[in-house]
């Protein structure tokens, strides 16, 4: 998938849900229905800033049964390279943005007999639409949602109203933490677990499930890493025969795209594997920031995920 597959949407409403989170409603610019999607999908939003283009993935949190609009929530990350800050400071109602078609890398298992979902903070955005799908079905589900009180009260109220006692809200403090270990220790056969939230929470859910003997096919998680800021470096794209300079606050993928080279991507967060690229030459070290390549592949120095990873050194040649 590349930017040629995007379509235009108009921002029709913006709400400040918490001091750090803004909620956006997007409608097709031509008034048509939005493309259908399943719970857990994300879209990549293309933002044209003054000096550069940002492309950030955001989960669709609106109901898959309502295709009149998409809803996304954006957490402002001042430390990041600017995409979320752009969404917060420069996007206004009535503005047109380009978005890519939804992709689902966090799907519900269709044969599950029960779903147990864990969300923390803004991670709820990846899970909210899944809950809408689950509400339509007959399979039991429960959500354990940890919030920093009273930050995310807005989401919590909406979920409680829609899903009642299938949703439990925890105020993230020492006395009121989710008993993740206890919850995964005694689930009936055929249960699937899903988690989206801060890194430590994902780690706890994965570790608890594995310790309780869960097989990998029943464990699902989503963690998009934002591409970290790093030192500038140069890269030569052999097939396209172009030399590209990657700025500190730019990802390698963004720099490649800015040079007019069409590189594949889906998640832009180091999880899907779509952007995997062969390294032909490297004089220096590769800085791997993805969750996709195995430790052996990372150590081999022959593969890189340009959406989040970088290089340190004089020379890098990619098979692009």
């Amino acid at each position: 998938m590349s930017h040629s597959h995007t379509f235009a949407v108009t921002v029709t409403a913006i709400t400040q849900v918490t001091p750090l989170i803004k909620h956006f409603v997007l409608k097709a610019a031509d008034g048509a229905q939005m493309p259908s999607f399943s719970g857990g999908s994300h879209v990549v939003v293309v933002m044209k800033g003054a000096t550069r283009v940002y492309r950030n993935p955001y989960s669709l949190l609106s109901s898959p049964n309502d295709l009149s609009a998409y809803e996304i929530a954006v957490r402002r990350a001042d430390q990041s390279r600017g995409g979320s800050v752009f969404m917060h400071d420069h996007v206004t109602v009535g503005m047109t943005l380009q978005i890519a078609h939804p992709v689902n890398l966090f799907q519900l298992d269709k044969l599950a007999l029960k779903h147990v979902l864990f969300a923390g903070g803004v991670g709820i955005t990846a899970i909210a639409a899944q809950l809408e799908d689950l509400k339509m079905g007959a399979v039991p589900y429960e959500l354990h949602y940890s919030v920093r009180a009273p930050d995310h009260a807005a989401f919590a109220d909406r979920l409680l109203a829609r899903h009642g006692d299938r949703v439990r809200i925890y105020h993230d403090s020492a006395e009121h933490r989710i008993d993740i270990e206890g919850l995964v220790a005694a689930q009936p056969l055929g249960t699937h677990v899903y988690v989206c939230g801060p890194t430590p929470m994902i780690g706890r859910v994965l570790a608890s499930a594995r310790a309780a003997g869960w097989a990998e096919s029943h464990i699902h998680w989503e963690q998009f890493s934002a591409p970290p800021v790093g030192d500038p470096f140069d890269v030569f794209l052999k097939k396209s025969n172009v030399k590209v300079s990657v700025l500190p606050d730019q990802s390698l993928l963004e720099a490649i795209e800015d040079a007019g080279v069409d590189a594949p991507y889906l998640c832009r967060g180091g999880v899907c594997g779509e952007c995997k690229c062969r390294v032909l030459e490297v004089d220096g070290v590769l800085v791997h920031n993805d969750h996709y390549l195995s430790p052996e592949e990372k150590a081999s120095g022959t593969l890189i995920m340009p959406c989040v990873s970088r290089a340190h050194g004089k020379n890098l040649v990619l098979d692009l």
Partner: protein, 203 residues
């Protein structure tokens, strides 16, 4: 006329302990005793506790009396022996209903038996990474009549008469996991009674 080459026949591999599991459910039929005995020994070596293992076994005549005795005293926290597959399967289902995540299933026996076990396991959403199965014993097939939907058991020939509707069926290689059976299709539809030679092929 035997329609070959439809490769939906399941593939099985030798049993080995899955150390990721917390409860190990072993299910066997007749000659399946041999791989299960090997598995229990490997489990002990690998540090899987006896208490975490449970064995269900059909004392079929494909295994010797001595083998049956060995299974009765098998190295597992709980051992249950059954006279036939039907009674084992009903107990198996009851156990799965009460089981929790972290369970691993090991199956050993003839293919027809394994198919029936797998069909129940699938209903509980046990996936490939939770099941290990080793085929041993008779390659006789369970045949599903596509006309009357009856199942004919223990079929060793290329052509068989359906137990229920009495049609002559050719046994295909097309296996259905949902039905736990191979498809049987009427063979003498054109000229009733005109049959190719019947041969023992699944022996």
């Amino acid at each position: 006329m035997l329609i070959r080459g439809i490769k939906s026949k399941p593939v099985y591999t030798p049993l080995a302990p899955d150390l990721g599991g917390r409860t190990h459910l072993l299910v066997g039929f007749g000659v399946g005793a041999e791989p299960l005995t090997r598995l229990m020994a490997d489990c002990t070596l690998a540090g899987v506790t006896k208490a975490s293992r449970r064995l269900l076994y059909v004392t079929d005549k494909s295994a010797s009396m001595a083998m049956h005795e060995m299974m009765r005293h098998a190295d597992a926290g709980e051992v249950q022996l059954f006279k036939d597959s039907a009674s084992l399967l009903s107990e198996f289902e009851t156990i799965l209903k009460a089981s929790i995540m972290g369970t691993r299933l090991y199956v050993a026996g003839p293919e027809a038996f394994m198919g029936l076990v797998m069909r129940i396991a699938a209903r509980f959403n046990l996936n490939r990474d939770e099941i290990r199965a080793e085929e041993c014993g008779s390659p006789a097939r369970r045949v599903h009549c596509i006309h009357c939907r009856a199942a004919t058991e223990d079929v060793t020939t290329n052509i068989v008469q359906c137990v229920d509707c009495q049609r002559w069926l050719v046994v295909r290689d097309h296996y259905s996991r949902r039905l736990a059976a191979y498809m049987g299709v009427m063979i003498d539809a054109e000229v009733p009674g005109e049959l190719p030679p019947i041969e023992e092929v699944f022996v």
